[in-house]
Amino acid sequence: MLNQLTIAELTAQLSRKEVSAREATQACLDQIGRIDSQLHAFLSLDAHDALAQADAVDRAIAGGANATAQPLLGVPIGIKDVLAVKGAPLNCSSKILGKYVSPYDATVIEKLRAAGAVVFGRLNMDEFAMGSSTENSAFGTTRNPWDLSRIPGGSSGGSAAAVAADECVATLGSDTGGSIRQPAALCGCVGLKPTYGRVSRYGLVAFASSLDQIGPFTKDVRDSATLLEVISGIDHRDSTSLPQPVPHYRNALTGDIKGLRIGLPKEYMIGGLDPEVNSAVQAAVKQLQSLGAEIVEISLPHTDYAVATYYIVATAEASANLARFDGIRYGQRVDADDPLALYSKTRGAGFGDEVKRRIILGTYVLSSGYYDAYYLRAQKVRTLIRQDFLKAFEKVDVIVTPTTPTAAFKIGEKSDDPLQMYLSDIFTISCNLAGISGISLPCGFTSNPRLPIGLQLLGQPFGEETLLRVAQAYEQSTGWHKERPPFSAAGK
């Protein structure tokens, strides 16, 4: 089945003209038609438009186009509902955007199109990317394909579930505190958060601007390298994108990690760590060692302060970024006699609980009399957290940790306790605060029920080549990435 292929496999078959891009896109649409009423990864999709793009690719291939020049030629790629795709709805899984239709393409979408991808669908997420389970979507929760009674993670839960269940060959998501790596871990696929500044955010609806990055969900590490290379690079429309040259990331996948130093932070062996997750990660560390890497114990002493720091910095930035949703220029409006009442009623009716909670917390930590005690203090602790990592990277090339403390939890298990939900991001948040790169990849399963476990590798700023090399060497020596959920594989 073409929807089950990787980017590398599909583009090879397309270039040999064994299959057509239309057949590949149709295979994804068929899989979505078969299972998505239960999985609910997609909010909407335009099948007619997707097939039209695929037909255009087939004509281009007939005219000589090839995957060497266009590495995503004919590859169906799903998009998180936080990225602007011209002519497509954009809701951020919120009611407040109403019937919004994007008037332009995000830079990453332009890049996907230029690389030949078939860009389609709106993937479910926590409202405005705030959450760890997709339970905060205004349009219903996405299910975990390994166990439909469990959450897929979040905020990019739809993006992760769609790849794990073979509804797409790859997807894009965004990661502010773990929103790519955590759902990738819980659904059993590969999710990469690039270094801050690596990928342009033009056309990404902003949540926390000093933390947000766009990144790929894929079925293996090679595809992650392919997609990262396509979407990276400086963009004059995002003044926080950085001018570092974009390497040919796939060339970094040599399989050779002999002599690389891999750091194991002692602070990540916390009490709440599930024993099965712990043993899977320990086994992965042994595996890396047997591949020739040197394991070094390191210390990231301010780890315990990351969640508190994050929930000040991220909510403060969100309170400013989400001020634009006021019922004036786009989206839903609740009419009132004066502008102030219009703003308040529109926002009260349009935002969900978690978004309200975070905007109010962010407003509070920035408000007169509290700024120094909360926001400024958090920015200083952020410096300490970043210094921890820079110091560690003087000794090691890559850091290895669990991606999450537990496998996927049950729908509803944490939805009434925001603090417990926040603490589930404990291993992923520091990476965003420090601005470094990170990847999650499958490293095993819990026994009963059988749920995926994610291994997180953290790399230096612009250290994606080393990160991908280590990840791919591990992946190819184990094969966990080939496991598929029985739910979506059934009927084949």
């Binding site: 003044s239 302060y305 004036i328 502008p339 909670r357 958090a378």
Partner: protein
């Protein structure tokens, strides 16, 4: 848990979010809990530490001062809840 001084009604007003009394009560309790957790940052001495606003600092990113195309007015207005004559319509601000 530390007792919070957060006045939900007042902060919601600053944030321009209308809340029902039930929402105020629920949010107040949850935010109190979260702020109690955040208090742990006070354990650290940060008197000698510079704040980080962005992990990778960039200063004064400039572009050439050249005229270039921007979003056409009709595209910018297409999603507006109310518009007329190329403008967004809003309630009366000045009597």
């Amino acid at each position: 848990m530390a007792d919070t001084e957060l006045d939900v009604k007042y902060v919601a007003h600053l944030a321009r979010i209308a809340l029902s009394p039930a929402e105020e009560a629920k949010l107040g309790a949850q935010l109190g809990n979260i702020l109690g957790y955040i208090e742990k940052l006070r354990e650290l001495d940060v008197s000698q530490v510079e704040p980080t606003a962005h992990a990778i600092p960039l200063i004064n990113v400039m572009r050439p001062d050249e005229i270039r195309p921007s979003l056409p007015v009709e595209d910018a207005l297409r999603n507006a809840p109310a518009q007329a004559n190329g403008l967004f319509l809003v309630p009366k601000i000045v009597e």
